[in-house]
Symmetry: C2
Subunit: 213 residues, 2 copies
């Protein structure tokens, strides 16, 4: 299969972690967001919303949306599983992923931040408050969810789907200045994952399109 992504994109990072945890080999084709390649005809045919990632399967289907891609990988390459046993624990894993995907990440996406500055007139102070209210607030809720579900990782002691979302969220929060110092469990899991080979392989800095410095 072939992944179309960008080194620093949170959603691309999620899929890379899942592919690494499942030991799936894949081709990688960078889509340079800074150069606007996501708006090329070739990429719009993959994703009409001009977002990364997209995954081309071995059968030629092109899939979008990171969580939909992860569920596809889980269905077609079930071993090792990214989800715990039991329907309710699986719902908890998905709820953590979705809280980050729909309540944190959208509000800190770079194109949204750029729009809020250029069209909405946000200055640095208002932007900082926005980031800490919405992405920060969603992350605070996830910290409370983790108090019920986490062991060494987000759900028990095995890395999985929720961690595929948590680690890129922490990475982006640090990048954009969201204060994560109060999130003890999330920081603990984040540090642990930095030493895990699958997470290390998936890290933005270790991608072929990474820009150093």
């Amino acid at each position: 299969m072939k992944l179309f992504g960008y080194w620093r994109s949170s959603a691309s990072y999620r899929v890379r972690i899942a592919l690494a945890l499942k030991n799936i080999d894949y081709e990688y084709e960078p889509v340079n967001l800074l150069a606007g390649e996501q708006k090329s005809d070739a990429h719009l045919a993959r994703n009409p919303l001009a977002l990364v990632p997209a995954l081309k399967t071995d059968e030629g289907a092109v899939l979008t949306q990171s969580l939909a891609i992860l569920e596809y990988l889980e269905e077609t390459r079930p071993d090792p599983s990214l989800l715990p046993h039991g329907a309710a624990p699986r719902a908890n894993a998905r709820a953590i992923a979705l809280t980050l995907a729909s309540e944190a990440q959208p509000f800190m996406n770079l194109r949204i931040q750029q729009y809020l500055k250029s069209e909405g007139g946000f200055d640095d102070e208002v932007m900082k408050q926005w980031l800490n209210t919405w992405p920060g607030g969603a992350m605070a809720a996830v910290e409370k969810m983790l108090a019920r579900t986490a062991g060494d990782y987000s759900i028990g002691d095995t890395p999985g789907l929720a961690d595929c979302f948590l680690i890129p969220q922490m990475f982006a929060a640090n990048r954009f200045g969201v204060d994560v110092s109060g999130f003890a469990k999330m920081n603990e899991i984040y540090e642990r994952c930095q030493k895990h080979p699958a997470f290390e392989k998936a890290h933005p800095d270790n991608q072929p399109d990474a820009v150093k410095g």
Copy 2:
């Protein structure tokens, strides 16, 4: 099982459609968002992010996030299924749901609109542009996705998971003045669903906490 929701909440509406399509009986406990009941200790124990819906299962687990709840229902009450046959078509259904859940709905949520007005200084004109750029842009992308997947409903000719997200999104877009006139397929599916008994049962106006007028 018991659903905690609010008549006009898009995410509550999604879960109500799924429960109706699956013919699942449930108790309903309204959480009055206008009265701030989502911030009560009782509700924060269900969802630390103070959002609806939450679903209490027959076993006593409390689940959050509409898509996580739908996947739980699909796993525990598989018949009738809300997902098509085949891993790639299922990924397409989830991608439509996720595009609406993470790229459209977050930017038109009432608490976000209120914040943009009060803290961000958005006037009516800037808000209209915001709504048509981000939720409207995501819906335009879904219209293109539907051109590949839809029959009478979002995926083929059977109502399912993607429709559970599409119909509340259309309802909210109409409520908040997003221009949906160019989305022919979405309008066609929306009209069809208005006549479907499960969608009718789940409609905001038909809930016990609906405010008429």
